[in-house]
Amino acid sequence: MSDSPYHDDHGNKDATITNKAGMGTMTPAHRKSGKTQYVGGGPFLIGDSMTGGYGKGPDILHDCTIAVDKGEIAVIVGPNGAGKSTAMKAVFGMLDVRSGSVRLDGEDITNLSPQDRVVKGMGFVPQTSNIFTSMTVEENLEMGAFIRTDDFSDTMEQVYDLFPILKEKRNQPAGELSGGQRQQVAVGRALMTKPKVLMLDEPTAGVSPIVMDELFDRIIEVARTGLPILMVEQNARQALAIADKGYVLVQGQNAYTGTGKELLADPEVRKSFLGG
């Protein structure tokens, strides 16, 4: 609980006067963006030796580095509570990075708010509540393109080509779709900004194994268009199989780093995280 008296609702749960559905929960590290600086060099997107935590809370990440380069899929795996999602959120600006930096295409964006990172070309798909359930599939995609002032119909066509089922259901409320289809809407929405890098937070959480395989196929397809993908995954084995780069995090620190194949072959990694 926070100390602000305005956050104390006395446990009131009166549905006739307050509407808690869809309320914002996000606490970005910066509400207003600071300066960016061109430094040059390095991978396309890198969270470089990040240390930090939420607000005034304790540090969750300790000198953690995550990077993805053009044309790559980078995967963050690790045990529960290892700080996988936290690391990704740090890259997206939802965590106070106290030391280290985040750089996109050679530009230091550590002080940008999440919204401005979207403008800079980062597409982010949250793990939950990642679609507008009451709006149609097409409206979801339109909202994804909200910041664009140019004609985005060709991007929408590209998304429909990538996810044909969405074209079929374009006029259905997204909330009525199945779990796998919802994830496709979510990824599609993020693609509408024509991002330079796509970040997925556990895209396969809560879907059946068959749907999961299909989703991975789609993600590979997206990556083939040249879009770098940074993704957090629970299903380490499958994820590493498609990864160009893998990061195993333990307690907010880099434990193992390598290509997907290397990590899958590493006996230590196999023993501790992949169940033998």
Binding site: M1, H10, G11, N12, K13, D14, A15, T16
Partner: protein, 434 residues
Amino acid sequence: MSEPVKNTLLFVLVGGLILLTGFMQSWNSAVLILNMGLISAIMAIGVNLQWGFAGLFNVGVMGFVALGGLAVVLISTTPTPGAWSAGGFGIVLALLLGAATVTAAVMIAQKMSKGRARTISLIAVLVLGFFVFRAVMDPNVAAVEAINPAAAGNIGGLSLPVLLAWPAGGLLAAGAAWLIGKTALGLRSDYLAIATLGIAEIIIAVLKNEDWLARGVKNVIGLPRPVPYEIDLQNDPGFVESAASLGLDPVTASTLYVKLGYSVLFLVVLLVLLWMAQMALKSPWGRMMRAIRDNEVAAEAMGKDVTRRHLQIFVLGSAICGIAGAMMTTLDGQLTPGTYQPLRFTFLIWVMVIVGGSGNNFGAVLGAMLIWFLWVQVEPIGLWLMQVITAGMPDGSALRAHLIDSAAHMRLLTMGVVLLLVLRFSPRGLIPER
């Protein structure tokens, strides 16, 4: 400055304001402010129990206050001769039939399985019950209302001492609150706000229109008093003598004596309720209430029946409002349903609780006294202010006349401003919860 010192100073400040009224205006108005302030404080304790300690949003305070007022009529007035034999029993029978209908409907809704059969039988029972109720009710009401309509036309009361009406008012309000709470408090969410808003309007509508009950808008006047009458005091040589020894004329002395009598009674009730509220909150029950408020999920996981606890505290808080309502009607000596306004009897109490400090009983009492003082005094202050502002304007100016005429409406404006300022700059209120 330490907490207790600050709080004491705040109380001293409000006391000083009331004393100032005594010196500047008149002691009669000062004691009047004190008396209504005490009653408001009791209402604020009731609302504070519900909101401050359980997060229940009651916007129907007016209804419970009015029920308290009704209790005074039903308990303390004399029964209208012949009213009971003419139709009183019939009305009771009709009400019982109505209650039976609703009970039957609830039973059907609960016992029968969902489907068309349930819907049809539900509607059938309700419609049939409604017509039977009206068939029994209407002639009996007409009979009662026909008895001496100029002075009575109602069933009257039980001729019991008026002080008994105070707990009775609490009971009446508690009964109504139980019914509302039972339907409006739920597991995952509740809809108490709209339910209380509605029931308050309905209670006022009943009081206004059911003449057999308490004469409706014809008002009941001359209710019995727990304190002596001024005229009796003035005729009592002993009283006149002691008044003279204090340097007071008998008329002023008698009115002051009566008002102070009320003050003592109200103060006793307030202190008792305050003590009870404090004790309850320090008890395991109170700790549990706060545990539920601060983390309902955890409390539920520990096996606490949250809805039941909420119902308890809602009924208790409403009962306190009912007691205060009975006290207020006793002080007024009359029941005038037309004067119950939500802004005055519901939302003003909310301002008191928020300004005083929700979650703190002493805060509620302080807020009530302070806000009541402002409510009374803003009008003369506003008038004075307007006169100062308009002093430069020419005499016959229409704007000047309008401003001076409108000064009376400054009061609502001021209450809003006070509430917003406190919420903005001291959101926990003057005496925050510890």
